[in-house]
Amino acid sequence: MNPAPNPRPRTPFLLASAAVASLALAGIAVQCSSPRPTEPARAAVADADGLRAWDVVYGVLQHPRCVNCHPAGNVPLQGEHLQLHAQNVQRGVDGKGRFDLKCATCHTAANTPGAHMPPGAPNWHLPTAAMPLVFEGKSKAELCRQMRDRAQNGDKTPEQLVEHMTHDPLVLWGWSPGEGRAPVSTPQAAFAQAARTWAASGCACPE
């Protein structure tokens, strides 16, 4: 299976998102839910800008650095081509592996030096079995609806989603994944801005 493409943000989008960044940063007062509320005044950002921002967010979420720990099954993935993790590693109920093969057995709080040595970041884990937050194989529309649905997104508000995507050290690891692994290709600042813009649009999703 090939990794999904990871589009870079286009210049018009960057301009548009810069224009709304202060609104978004000032506080995301909108609600994201699925199905989404329909009142016209709900969002600080137009749908079109929100959809363009989602394109950027989706491209990042489909990068192997993100998909590898958001697999469709109960086995984490690894590498650039979404191979099943070696050693029969499994998700476990709490997303932290099973028995001897817990994530923390090999993955510490920092990357191990050397090419293809175990990567690491604080709290290395997968989503739990009850809330698996699958990214693998999801279309733009499917993943968008999942992300804005609190019943499927870990009960996160838009603010919490943005906080997780822009500040969680495990997410930020995607831009410094250690030797032998490609970092997420969209710059982190562009991703963060896109995430804020998308949330400020009321989590606009493609049909």
């Binding site: 029969n88 028995f99 001897d100 093969l101 510490t108 191990t112 040595m117």
Partner: protein, 156 residues
């Protein structure tokens, strides 16, 4: 700067580069050679120890990450599960060359602690990170079942 930790119930202080892997400290500084070097890349399981009761591959664990923690190596594995594993491993004559076996036993000890009566699936889920060049896998599986029986009072 010295780093303090507890190894097999004893407090120790080591003055080494903080990036030194725990495995090196155990073998070279603390004269505990039971834990083995196989790959140095968290791929084989030979270097498995317990840190605060959980498995860790000591070849990729910098000593700085275990400051203040409780380390157990094969030399210090005791209690109900340690005894049961030793009896089962001896009864079933599990090792061939023996090189991987300390790692196998340390991993199996975590399994017994978390699954009193492990299934074959549990054993696969636990032990697939421990490689045995001599392919003693069949005896390892059998000895884990036997150790579980011993630990639950079915010994003799």
């Amino acid at each position: 700067m010295p780093i303090d930790l507890e190894v097999n119930g004893k407090r120790v202080s080591v003055d080494v580069d903080p990036t030194t892997p725990l495995l090196w400290v155990l073998r070279e500084d603390l004269a505990l050679p039971g834990t083995k070097f196989g790959c140095g890349a968290a791929q084989c399981g030979a270097c498995t120890v317990h840190v605060d009761g959980a498995s860790a591959r000591s070849c990729v664990l910098p000593i700085s990450a275990v400051a203040g923690k409780r380390i157990t190596t094969i030399e210090g594995l005791d209690g109900k599960f340690g005894a049961a594993l030793m009896q089962a491993w001896t009864e079933q004559d599990v090792p061939q060359c023996g090189y991987c076996q300390t790692g196998q036993i340390m991993s199996a000890a975590v399994l017994l602690k978390e699954a009193a009566k492990p299934t074959d699936g549990d054993i696969d889920a636990c032990m697939s990170g421990n490689v045995c060049r001599c392919a003693t896998y069949v005896r390892i599986r059998s000895a884990i079942h036997r150790a579980a029986e011993i630990a639950s009072g079915g010994g003799r």
